[in-house]
């Protein structure tokens, strides 16, 4: 460790902030445990208060020591962080390896004018350095300094000659847009919430509604579910509002910078070169009104670790036209366009039949469950559910119309999903492996699925870029063509490097 270079310290407010939650924990434990101890041996009850005081002094002392022994140095080649009271840790992060510098502040931290800074390097699921907590001014300074020094280190610019960042505000979410986004936000967790409440409240409701039957019962259940749905949707809307308040997307040199949040403020960077794929996301309601969202997928976050788990919203909500234009401003080669859906290859007609059969079976299963509930638990007009079977062809067509793929010039584009339609664009030089998968049922229908695997860490429930239900007679060709374009892109990239 050189020791030379610019030094920074944590903000003194770190001490009370960090100590506070620990003290609260200790005190509440003592409050719970105290009476129990007093019940067993009255003498020990006298010890509780001095114990508490000793604990508080120890915690405050520890935090003071932590604060004093935490040092941040901007050395010549690397960021050096020394931390720890008993177990010392010295970390050196070379500037050229730094990928993201994320600043986040929650409400209390904003009041205290402090912030948490996370410095990440490429390829790892672990944040490399977390500074809890520096002053907001220091956080901003660090962001700028690390950007400058990384530029110096990676482009051989002389120290002090790095030009000021070229910034370009790409997108700002205005108040109307924020309200629209909140109202349109349908979270999958909403259905989970509904199911959870239904399973808990079901027996309770059954007991309360003991005498009621027939139409009145169905009416009460439906109205109850609707009220619950609206309440959960309201909660979701509020959460979205808090999350995307003040959203702004800026291009700073070769990075995308996004800021968002009301209670918890996030300020993060995505290097353009780390973008693995683009995704235009449109769920049902958004499509109805002509809106869409743009997400970029990156590597470097383990699933669930980044603020959004590897897929960050570049544009949380805008008109479809705006989203497409913005994607082009970030990368001119992205083949999103208004008419792109007309140029997609789509699954054959027999795939639609396959979906219809699948949804029909699901509907029949639900009817069976309804009948069983009626027979064994609580009689109700379960035969109403037979109407669900009639919806199967509709669902089948909806699934079929929202699937497609195309091998573009520089990107492979795939589209999937009815409730949330996601159109992925993956550059060929970001495709890792090409996977051709044919389940037993697909083979029966003469279909197969081709996946373009990338390094972008999607959550388990996330959709992959895939050409789903390609006709069997075309799948070998599609797989080979996609692979060939990947090889070509790799060769072109290596030529560019020489």
């Amino acid at each position: 460790m050189s020791g030379a270079g610019r030094h920074l310290r944590l903000h003194p407010a770190t001490i009370p902030y960090r100590a506070f939650s620990k003290i609260v924990g200790v005190v509440s434990t003592l409050i719970f445990v105290g009476p129990a101890i007093a019940g067993v041996a009255a003498e020990f009850a006298l010890l509780v208060v001095p114990l508490g005081l000793v604990a508080i002094v120890a915690i405050v002392g520890y935090e003071v020591a932590y604060f004093r022994r935490f040092s941040i140095t901007l050395a010549d080649d690397a960021l050096e962080v020394s931390s720890g009271v008993f177990a010392r840790q010295e970390r050196e992060i070379p500037y050229r390896r730094i990928q993201n510098v994320d600043v986040s502040r929650n409400v209390v931290q904003r009041l205290l004018d402090i912030a948490q800074v996370k410095v990440e390097t490429a390829g790892g699921g672990e944040t490399e350095a977390v500074l809890r907590y520096v002053s907001l001014a220091d956080a901003t300074l660090l962001q700028e300094e690390l950007r400058t020094r990384k530029r110096e280190a990676t482009t051989d610019t002389a120290a002090g000659e790095v030009p000021a960042a070229e910034t370009e505000v790409l997108f700002e979410l205005d108040d109307a847009g924020l309200v629209r986004l909140s109202l349109l936000s349908i979270d999958a967790r909403l259905f989970g919430g509904l199911a959870a409440v239904a399973s808990i409240g079901g027996p309770v409701a059954a007991a309360v509604l003991e005498g009621v039957s027939g139409v009145a019962l169905v009416a009460i259940v439906v109205v109850g579910a609707a009220v619950l749905g609206v309440a959960l949707w309201g909660l979701g809307a509020a959460a979205t509002f808090l999350q995307y308040y003040g959203f702004r997307l800026t291009r700073v040199d070769d990075d995308l910078r996004y800021e968002r949040g009301l209670l918890q403020r996030y300020d993060g960077t995505i290097p353009l070169e780390k973008i693995q794929a683009f995704a235009v996301e449109e769920h049902v309601l958004m499509r109805r009104f002509g809106f869409a969202a743009l997400a970029v997928q990156t590597a470097g976050y383990a699933p669930g670790q980044g603020p959004a788990g590897g897929s960050e919203a570049a544009v949380p909500l805008a008109t479809r036209r705006q989203v497409i234009d913005l994607a082009a401003r970030i990368d001119p080669d992205v083949p999103f366009s208004d008419g792109m859906r007309d140029a997609f290859d789509r699954p054959p007609v027999r795939a639609r039949r396959r979906y219809t059969v699948r949804y029909g079976l699901v509907a029949l299963a639900l009817v069976g469950v309804g009948a069983a509930v009626s027979a064994f638990l609580q009689p109700w007009p379960w035969y109403v559910m037979v109407a669900l079977v009639a919806l199967a062809p509709v669902a089948g067509r909806a699934s079929h119309r929202n699937r497609g793929w195309r091998l573009g010039d520089a990107f492979v584009v795939t589209e999937n999903g009815f409730w949330k339609r996601t159109t992925h664009a993956v550059p060929y030089d970001r495709v890792q492996t090409v996977i051709d998968r044919r389940t037993l049922f697909q083979r029966r229908w003469g279909l197969a699925t081709v996946y373009a695997d990338t390094a972008s860490s999607m959550s388990l429930a996330g959709q992959d870029p895939a050409a789903v239900d390609v006709p069997l007679e075309d799948v070998d060709g599609l797989r080979s063509s996609l692979a060939a374009r990947v090889f070509e892109a790799v060769r072109a990239a290596s030529r560019g490097r020489i």
Binding site: A299, D429, L440, R443, Y451, D453, A455, A483, V490, R497
Partner: protein
């Protein structure tokens, strides 16, 4: 296209045997204790289940062996495998991060190894080629490493 060593079927069959033994023992225990059936019935039922599982697993092992193929193509490693779900994977050499050989105790006794190839992908993060003799596994690993380092296109991350 290259095939796996036939002895891999034995490895898979041994796995099926072990699974059958465990499931049969569990069934026998469940019948004997909570449900209080006589010991002979419990053992017979457990044994029957174990045999069925072993037979199915053994048959599956043969089918799996027949389905497995791989090939070193000019730019990529190509794999074909799967009985119920057929999977064909094209893994460009340039994307190969590293290559391991591995073997579990059963494989070691039978003189077989596995080659595991890692990329930076998520769905296809690693791919395993089982059923190779130790020499073939080492040779394949070296071949893959050579081809991966020959190509300077970058790992696409």
């Amino acid at each position: 296209m290259e095939r796996l060593h036939p002895r891999i079927r034995v490895v898979w069959a041994v796995g099926a045997l072990l699974t059958g033994l465990v499931l049969g023992a569990v069934l026998a225990a469940v019948l004997a204790l909570p449900f209080d059936r006589p010991a002979s019935t419990a053992v017979a039922a457990g044994g029957g289940l174990g045999l069925v599982v072993f037979a199915l697993g053994g048959g599956f092992a043969v089918l799996r062996y027949r389905a497995w193929r791989f090939e070193l193509q000019p730019d990529a490693l190509f794999l074909e495998r799967g009985v119920l779900t057929e999977v064909r994977t094209v893994m460009p050499f340039v994307r190969v991060q590293h290559v391991d050989t591995q073997r579990n105790p059963v494989e070691r006794i039978l003189g077989l190894s596995r080659v595991v190839v890692y990329t930076a992908g998520s769905r296809g993060a690693d791919v395993t080629i089982p059923g190779l003799t130790a020499e073939r596994a080492t040779a394949l690993r070296e071949e893959l490493r050579t081809r991966a380092s020959e190509r300077e296109g970058g790992d696409g991350v």
